[in-house]
């Protein structure tokens, strides 16, 4: 257990960051933001109207994962989950 990270933050393809583990989230003044669930999604696209949470606004304008559109990553990403091209 000791080398398990306390918090894991995962960037999901074309979506939010999911946060799992023993964390707390505070606002700009350091006040706790109430957590009602174990796993939360933090907005990554910038368009959520309920920040810090993701409210699926990323879908309304087809947010695309920056990792796929240029930024180099150490691990080669499987591109099979690319969204359909008609979007």
């Amino acid at each position: 257990m000791s080398n398990e990270p306390e918090v894991v933050i995962t960037a999901y393809p074309d979506g939010p960051y999911l946060v799992r583990g023993a964390y707390k989230i505070v606002d700009a003044n350091g006040n706790d933001i109430e957590l009602t669930r174990r796993t939360v999604a933090l907005c990554r696209c910038g368009r959520s109207s309920q920040k810090p949470w993701c409210d699926s606004s990323h879908k309304s304008f087809n947010f695309r994962d920056p990792a796929k559109t240029g930024r180099s990553t150490s691990r080669k990403k499987n591109t099979s989950d690319d969204p359909p091209s008609h979007l």
């Binding site: 939010p16 999911l18 009602t36 796993t39 699926s56 499987n78 099979s80 969204p83």
Partner: protein, 348 residues
């Protein structure tokens, strides 16, 4: 640390058991006549030429057969649950329903596992009947109440059908399903169980929030998607379809629930009524990712041969759900009731 003391207003009423609904045709007549007696023999399913994807008689019968595995009915002996005659009767109904689903929604041939996620995205992004948009912008209060009653048939047991799937999965897919289900069931807080939030919505709108209270009013086209979930959940061989269905349901939920919440606010309702829908905007933005990438993706990694089943479950769910939405919109635009009248089906 907080101490949970007082029980929430939404606590389950004690000892309410939903009544067995009225029959709607030959199938439910045979079934309900038997169910009020001691568990024993049951005849064959009377044949029926109607559409097995939406038929009122077939889907109420199937819904009742499944209900005996969930909460049961007042006056129905709980031992019917594993009565071989009832299991066989249910099997005949399932066969009709499943064959029709396969015919309409199963893509023939092997599916390439590497394309499944993009296919699921495609299915989720297909535009369906604009029911939630209508609720947001135009629906009258009466139509809104009808809609809530339709949804009560599933929402009051929300996520229960998928819990059947847990022991049928392992590894990443199991962990993902339980992560979603834990949230559906309130993360250890009974007042946050999604079904309980829905009861609060019904109470705030002056509707009867007791489990199963409106079953007589709910048509087959509404029951079909719920029967699909129960069927996929209760058959291990259909676990891939269950996973595909859940992925699409989660992927399409957040934005449509956002619209429904906005519609309720347009009609002047506050947080009691909108709470269920507001919760789903946030919760399903999480579940969407987990269900697509970890649940469906995880299952595919373990068993790529389930690709076709996952896509079948996804398309079938999207199809029956769209049929429900279209039916409701059509009824409203024709100024016809979308629900049956109490005491008798309008089709009988």
């Amino acid at each position: 640390m907080t101490v949970a003391a007082e029980s929430s207003v939404a606590e389950f009423p004690q000892r309410w058991e939903p009544p067995l609904p009225n029959s709607r045709g030959p199938i439910t007549e045979v079934l309900f006549k038997a169910l009020v007696g001691r568990p024993g023999a049951l005849g064959k399913v009377p044949s029926n030429e109607r559409d097995p994807l939406s038929d009122d008689d077939l889907h109420l019968a199937l819904y009742a057969c499944y209900e005996i595995h969930y909460r049961g009915f007042a006056g129905v002996d709980a031992r019917w649950e594993w009565n071989p005659a009832l299991v066989s009767f249910r099997g005949q109904l399932e066969q009709a329903f499943e064959s029709a689903l396969i015919e309409c929604f199963r893509v023939t041939g092997e599916q390439d596992p590497s394309t499944v996620k993009s296919m699921l995205n495609k299915i989720a992004n297909r535009s369906g009947p604009p029911l939630s948009r209508h609720l947001r912008d135009k629906a009258s209060l009466a139509d809104f109440k009808d809609y809530i009653i339709h949804r009560s048939a599933y929402q009051l047991k929300e996520a229960d059908p998928h819990s059947w799937v847990i022991p049928r999965l392992e590894g990443k897919a199991k962990a993902a399903l339980v992560e979603v289900e834990f949230d559906e069931f309130g993360c250890g807080r009974s007042e946050r169980i999604h079904a309980v939030l829905f009861r609060t919505t019904m109470d705030a709108m002056g509707l009867d929030s007791r489990y199963g209270a409106y079953l007589d009013l709910i048509p087959g086209v509404t029951l079909a998607p719920i029967n699909l979930m129960s069927m996929f959940g209760l058959h291990r061989r259909l676990r891939g379809a269950a996973v595909g269905h859940l992925a699409i349901a989660e992927m399409t939920s957040a934005l449509s629930n956002k619209f429904v919440a906005e519609g309720l606010r347009r009609l002047g309702y506050g947080a009691d009524a909108t709470g269920f829908f507001d919760e789903h905007v946030i919760a399903d933005s999480i579940h969407d990712m987990v269900a697509l990438h970890d649940l469906a993706g995880g299952l595919l990694e373990q068993d790529p041969s389930l690709a076709g089943d996952i896509l079948f479950g996804a398309s079938a769910w999207a199809g029956v759900d769209a049929a429900f939405a279209q039916y409701v919109l059509d009824s409203w635009s024709r100024k016809e009731p979308s629900l049956h009248t109490p005491g008798g089906s309008r089709l009988s």
